[in-house]
């Protein structure tokens, strides 16, 4: 991530330390992950110790300290999806991609995450890939949906 881009985001939030979380969220969404140089720059500009930034980056689920794959697979494991068999969908995804939630495969193709409720419980169990919702999934459908991604 270029230093100008980082500064731009920090400036947008007036460089105020109280906006730290909002700044980090924006950095995360524009770069997909938070490399150490980015965190260092934020620390310098906001005059916040790096340890506190690390604390925040590891505390909240939205942040990633490692690069993410080309496709983000989110398996909803909210209660409604759970009682409708979300764990079977997750098993199928783990089998097909060879990775567990929180991991990214070696080819950087998929990153798998579990999420707690996407708010479309009528369609459970739900899998979301790159923001597109796939509802009422069965293990067989899950495997075939994943095959469509390169």
């Amino acid at each position: 991530m270029e230093i100008e881009k980082i500064d731009q985001i920090i400036d947008k939030h007036n460089g105020e330390a109280s906006n730290l979380l909002q700044i980090m969220l924006e950095l995360q969404s524009s770069n997909n992950w938070l490399p150490k140089e980015v965190l260092k720059r934020v620390s310098e500009r906001l005059d916040v110790p790096l340890t506190r930034i690390q604390h925040i980056a590891t505390f909240y689920k939205a942040f990633s300290l490692v690069p993410k794959g080309r496709h983000k697979v989110h398996i909803c494991v909210g209660t409604a999806c759970h009682v409708r068999g979300a764990s079977r969908i997750l098993d199928t995804v783990e089998e097909a991609t060879g990775i567990k939630p929180g991991e990214t495969d070696m080819e950087m193709k998929f990153s798998v995450e579990t999420v707690n409720c996407l708010g479309c419980c009528a369609l459970g169990p739900v899998m979301e890939i790159d923001g597109k919702t796939h509802g009422k999934m069965s293990p067989a459908q899950t495997a075939s949906v994943l095959k469509n991604y390169e």
């Binding site: 505390f59 098993d91 199928t92 369609l123 919702t133």
Partner: protein, 643 residues
């Protein structure tokens, strides 16, 4: 446009708006809530616009993309006004027909109507459908008639009249008094009376105060706040400004869950529009009251729904709770008095000011007033958002409105209150919903999640699921929660995997007691609830898992086996072709057998086996019968057997 500077100007503007709107002009409202969006309402909207243009009706028919209508099971939903014709599960290919037949030809398209499953009758009007008919949608009802991006739509249905009344016809003390008298209790969890919370802040000596909307809706299976934020943001904003006036705060915050990007967009838009109209900012409606609103996004931490954790997070730190020796309404955000209320609580405020506390208290039970929105999900026929008066029984909600359990299965329990709540069994279905009633039954109101479970749901697994969720979401600050939940999770996992032993239940009870007594915040204090309530009502399921290594619901993967009944298998090959693990062996006219070593227990065979055969069964607590010898596997025609 000019800024609205007085209540009179607001009314004048509203009348101008209404006079420009022809109530007889056809208007197609299309639900664009998250569930409908996922089932394709955006494509339907694009096709509607295109089709109206090609048929030359673009300026004769309005299209309004609204927020969630609530009946998510049947999305995408279209309602055609003024006739209120309601179509469900509309696909882009239906659009041309809707325009030609219904808009032009005034004819109803039967196949898109709702069919009452009991009397098998088609229903045309939204308000006649049992799902809607039995609700009382005071807070949520406007969602279906306004475009959340249009402040004019909100003004047209009487929006900001409560703000105008509060600021100019009432003193701040009178506003506070009205909310207190209404006994509006917090809709986010504990049900603390909002008026008393407000009064505490108002009376605190520190001059700078804050009012905050808790939109960090984290309970899995609950999405009513999302629907309100996305569908009717001005209503919440209006409530917040009124709250600010009553407690003498000039700044407000929305703390919105990171997973709800559309809610953030709609709220930001609403704030901008309100500022442009002069309903937010300096000297609102000439009253001398100033108010400013900020929007903060959460970053994915369940504990931030807790008041002190949320405020710590707003300050730009890791959202860990603080001890509450002094309550946050006296010392909260930046150590200043801060009123934090849930989205739905704020959304009730304009209504109370408009119609009065006496009207509000006429609805509900002795201790719980008004209505509550529930998110009815899980094993239920009509999944969706349901608003009912407090005091409605669980049975009415689940069976009359929700349509009962699908697939002819039997109801087992309903889980309310999110991860801190509990499971309520069938014999308590006549319980009236209310804050104290649910707590007495071992559960709680929480934010209003209501997850129906049928006989296929294992209650031990449900407890394990919630404890797993909370173990993951525990911030780690205090030991009883961090370590206690981890141990509870380990023991419960063992039980569901058939590794449970005598004494586990007692150990779990001990850990639960410690977490309840000694945790710092509400997350830890209430975390054992899912375990305690399932143990209270379904103890025999725990014992079956531990003693017999049997899962009575046939759900725990490690305790069940799939087995094909050779008497019933007709060798149709469906399961063999669909098995993702290639664990089924068989051929034409050869009875199929599951290779237990290869089987991943995904359950596909169980689901795809044609119901007329019903050959695949689940076994638990008993050994799998040995496979049929090869020479007995060929299916002979029945006529031959008779020979």
């Amino acid at each position: 446009m000019l800024q609205i500077k007085t209540p009179a100007q607001l009314e004048e503007f509203r009348e101008g708006l209404l006079s420009k709107r022809d109530p007889n002009k056809p208007c197609i409202t299309l639900c664009s809530g998250s569930a409908c969006h996922a089932s394709g309402s955006t494509e339907v909207a694009a096709r509607l616009e295109e089709e109206l243009k090609t048929q030359g009706l673009a300026d004769q028919v309005d299209i309004r993309r609204t927020g969630c209508h609530g009946f998510c099971e049947r999305g995408p939903i279209i309602v055609i006004h003024p006739d209120e014709i309601c179509y469900f599960q509309v696909q882009p290919d239906d659009v041309a027909e809707i325009i030609t037949e219904t808009i032009k030809g005034k004819k109803i398209i039967e196949r898109l109507l709702y069919t009452d499953p009991v009397v098998n009758e088609k229903i045309i009007h939204e308000s006649r459908i049992p799902f809607y008919k039995n609700q009382e949608r005071l807070v949520f009802g406007s969602n279906g008639s306004i475009d959340p991006k249009s402040i004019d739509d909100y003004l047209a249905i009487g929006g900001y009249s409560a703000l105008s009344k509060a600021l100019t016809a009432m003193t701040d003390l009178e506003v506070l008094g009205e909310v207190k008298k209404a006994n509006l209790r917090g809709r986010g969890g504990a049900g603390f009376p909002a008026g008393i919370k407000w009064e505490g802040s108002r009376n605190a000596p520190e001059p700078i105060k804050y009012v905050i909307v808790n939109a960090d809706e984290g309970d899995p299976g609950a999405y009513m706040d999302r629907a309100l934020l996305e569908g009717n943001p001005h209503c919440i904003l209006e409530g917040l400004i009124i709250g600010g006036y009553a407690v003498k705060a000039n700044e407000g915050y929305f703390y919105v869950r990171q997973e709800y990007p559309l809610a953030v967009i709609n709220i930001l838009h609403a704030i901008k529009e309100a500022e442009r109209y002069g309903l937010l900012g300096e000297n609102i409606l000439g009253s001398g009251f100033n108010f400013k609103v900020h929007v903060h996004q959460g970053a994915g931490a369940f504990v931030c729904g807790e008041s002190t954790a949320l405020m710590t997070s707003l300050e730009g730190k890791a959202g860990e709770p603080r001890p509450k020796y002094v309550r946050s309404n006296v010392k909260g955000l930046w150590e200043r008095p801060s009123v934090l209320n849930n989205v739905e609580t704020w959304a009730n405020v304009p209504m109370i000011i408009n119609k009065g506390a006496d009207w509000f208290t006429s609805i509900g039970t002795e201790s719980s007033k008004g209505t509550k929105i529930f998110s009815l999900v899980g094993k239920i026929t009509n999944t969706g958002l349901v608003e009912v008066p407090m005091g409605t029984t669980l049975r009415e909600i689940i069976f009359t409105i929700g349509g009962g359990i699908p697939g002819g299965r039997k109801f087992k329990a309903v889980q309310t209150g999110g991860p801190s709540g509990g499971c309520i069994p069938e014999d308590k279905l006549d319980l009236q919903v209310g804050f104290d009633e649910l707590t007495k039954a071992g559960s709680m109101m929480g934010s209003g999640g209501m997850i129906a479970m049928d006989e296929d749901t294992c209650m031990v697994d449900v407890a394990r699921y919630f404890i797993a969720f909370l173990t993951d979401e525990s911030c780690g600050k205090c030991v009883p929660c961090r370590e206690g939940l981890r141990q509870m999770h380990r023991i419960l996992t063992n039980i569901t995997q058939g590794k449970g032993k005598e004494g586990d239940i007692e150990l779990l009870e001990e850990l639960a007691e410690t977490a309840v007594e000694a945790s710092l915040c509400a997350l830890g204090k209430s975390a054992p609830n899912p375990f305690l309530s399932t143990l209270k009502y379904f103890r025999e399921e725990y014992e079956a898992h531990i003693r017999e290594k049997r899962c009575p619901a046939l759900s725990c993967k490690e305790l069940i086996n799939f087995y094909i009944d050779p008497e019933k298998c007709r060798a149709c090959g469906t399961c063999r072709k669909q098995c993702p693990a290639s664990a089924i062996n068989g051929d034409k006219k050869i009875i199929h057998i599951i290779d237990q070593d290869k089987c991943t227990k995904c359950g596909t065979c169980f689901e795809v086996c044609p119901t007329k055969f019903g050959a695949v069964t689940k076994l638990s607590g008993v050994p799998v019968p040995p496979p049929l010898p090869e020479d007995q596997r060929t299916i002979k025609k029945k006529s031959k057997e008779n020979e």
